[in-house]
């Protein structure tokens, strides 16, 4: 399992987290390269179907990053998102996924460091969990 390199999909909201990721890049912070960023206008734009599709196509983990509560560019998008994601977490749990495979975190535009920390920790979590059960079943 030591050579397992997980594939991670990271949904970043346009106004905070994507800029945060940018900041982390500009500051040349070191972080694992296992994630693919998908920019969405808001964390509430992340339909649970997007997350389920990522898992069904073999993603080992999914990160959803948005603005801090009370900081949403659209006033309340992240409040909607966190309720949806909570339900989705219950559903992933019922399917048999480890709920830790999906993480919702708040990263603001100035928090490049938090972006680096979140991604690094998440990659470690997924490495410890091993490959996605969906993929291992198809193989």
């Amino acid at each position: 399992m030591a050579d397992f390199e997980p594939k991670i999909v990271a949904f970043c909201c346009n106004w905070c987290s994507y800029a945060g990721a940018d900041g982390a890049g500009v500051a040349r912070m070191q972080m694992p390269t296992n994630f693919r960023v998908i920019r969405t206008m808001c964390s509430a734009r992340v339909d649970p179907e997007h997350v389920l599709r990522a898992f069904s196509k073999g993603a080992d983990g999914v990160l959803i990053l948005g603005c801090h509560p009370a900081d949403c560019h659209y006033i309340g998008g992240n409040y909607r998102a966190r309720r949806r994601i909570a339900l989705l977490r219950m559903i992933l749990d019922q399917y048999g996924f480890d709920p830790k495979r999906m993480k919702l975190e708040w990263v603001s535009a100035s928090e490049g460091e938090k972006f680096q920390k979140t991604v690094t920790e998440f990659v470690d979590t997924i490495k410890a969990l091993g490959p996605s059960p969906v993929r291992s079943e198809e193989a």
């Binding site: 339909d47 649970p48 179907e49 389920l52 599709r53 898992f55 069904s56 801090h68 509560p69 009370a70 309340g76 409040y79 909607r80 966190r82 309720r83 949806r84 994601i85 909570a86 339900l87 989705l88 977490r89 219950m90 559903i91 019922q94 399917y95 048999g96 996924f97 480890d98 919702l104 969990l129 091993g130 059960p133 969906v134 291992s136 079943e137």
Partner: protein
């Protein structure tokens, strides 16, 4: 045989299949884009046509098969009342488990394409279902996926969520249910003695049973399907629409809808058909319909905290459930651009939970607690659509 030639003209695939009856023929169409047949709500449905008589080219062969389902779909063909008499005017019913004594060997003896229309209800759950679906596909010009189980997996597909698959299900049903005569705690029998087995050597010869599969599939994940009629069971109106199309085709040579058409649905969500009005109230708890003493007959059920799947379900049924103060359970399947019905519904439902004054200081565990008022979200939101969902079945962490 004029009409048969016409059928072959329309369904070029049939021709190709006859030219090269390769095993790949039955390969299901992957993620095929289905079209919606929009029938305006007030479009006239021809009733019974007296004295219709046999079609000019002779009666067509019609087969109805009952796969993994409750049988309601098999009976529902009779919901067309006296119009069923036109069905017998038009066709020889060569198979219909609940009404006609057609056998597998009769179907096997037929030429490929000899059956004009085969209507299959129920999901594909065991080797017999699969065999019959493939056999009827081979012998039929037109295959109709009939009912929620055939189209979406339906209730049988909830078995996909049992992590241990068919072994765990059989083990439970045959040895752990106290009402079973085999209940191991009482009987003192060994587990292998009470389990059904696919092959049994009796003194009279070998007896076989169909093999149960771990994953329940839809019909179109097993064979190529021409038309879909959703519903649990399909409404009288959509059955009549299918029969009308067939009568027009068989008697007058009218064109059939394009392949992949979903019959009897409207290209919008059930809320459009529902008579209730919405006040966009916020909810903090959810209720079963029987827990609400006085259900407001005119107010949206979601506003009253009753989980209704209408928002993510395609219209066409006429909303009989919400008219009767019962929530929509989603048997018609997802709206057209959506593939994941359950996700579509719970996205909407999660937004009904209000933002709280201290939301900014809450963490995700608090959020889990707020949403935990919904019991069994997977089973509820995917009650009919598990086979068509993206993940499809239970998964096992660490299972290599």
């Amino acid at each position: 045989m004029g009409f048969i030639d016409k059928v072959k003209g329309i369904f070029k695939r049939s021709d190709k299949a006859e030219a090269a009856p390769a095993p790949g023929k039955e390969a299901p169409a992957k993620e095929a884009v289905t079209k919606v047949a929009e029938f305006p709500a007030d479009s006239p449905i021809d009733g019974y046509v007296p004295g219709l008589g046999a079609p000019p080219g002779g009666k067509i062969n019609l087969a109805i098969y009952w796969a993994a389902g409750c049988g309601g779909c098999d009976v529902s063909v009779l919901d067309t009342d006296e119009k069923i008499l036109n069905v017998s005017d038009m066709s020889n019913i060569v198979m219909w488990p609940i009404a006609v004594d057609g056998k597998e060997k009769d179907i096997e003896a037929m030429e490929d394409g000899e059956i004009t229309v085969a209507i299959i209800n129920g999901a594909i759950r065991n080797s017999e279902n699969e065999h019959m679906a493939k056999l009827l596909r081979k012998k039929s010009q037109i295959l109709v996926s009939y009912g929620a189980c055939a189209c979406l997996g339906g209730s049988p597909a909830l078995a996909n969520l049992v992590p241990g698959g068919h072994k765990e299900i059989k083990d439970h049903v045959y040895s752990k249910v106290p009402s079973s005569a085999n209940f191991l705690a009482d009987s003192g029998k060994k587990i292998e003695d009470v389990m059904p087995r696919p092959v049994y050597e009796a003194p009279e010869g070998t007896l076989t049973l169909p093999v149960l599969y771990d994953t329940v599939k839809t019909l179109d994940q097993t064979v190529d399907v021409d038309y879909y009629i959703p519903g649990c069971p399909p409404t009288q109106k959509s059955i009549a629409q299918l029969l009308n199309a067939l009568v027009g085709f068989v008697y007058k040579g009218e064109a059939l809808p394009p392949k992949g058409t979903v019959i009897g649905v409207l290209a919008k969500s059930l809320c459009e058909e529902c008579h209730r009005h919405k006040e966009n109230r916020r909810i903090t708890n959810v209720y079963e319909p029987h827990e609400v003493m006085n259900v407001d007959h005119d107010l949206c059920l979601l506003d009253q905290g009753i989980l209704c799947l209408g928002a993510g379900t395609i219209a066409g049924c006429g909303a009989p459930c919400t008219k009767a103060d019962q929530p929509c359970r989603g048997c018609y399947g997802p709206t057209q651009p959506v593939s994941e019905q359950g996700a579509s519904v719970f996205t909407a439902i999660a937004s009904l939970f209000p933002v709280q004054a201290n939301d900014a200081t809450m963490d995700e565990d608090d959020m889990d607690e707020i949403m935990s008022v919904i019991n069994d979200p997977l089973g509820y939101f995917y009650a009919f659509s598990m086979s068509k969902s993206l993940i499809k079945r239970a998964v096992k962490e660490g299972g290599q």
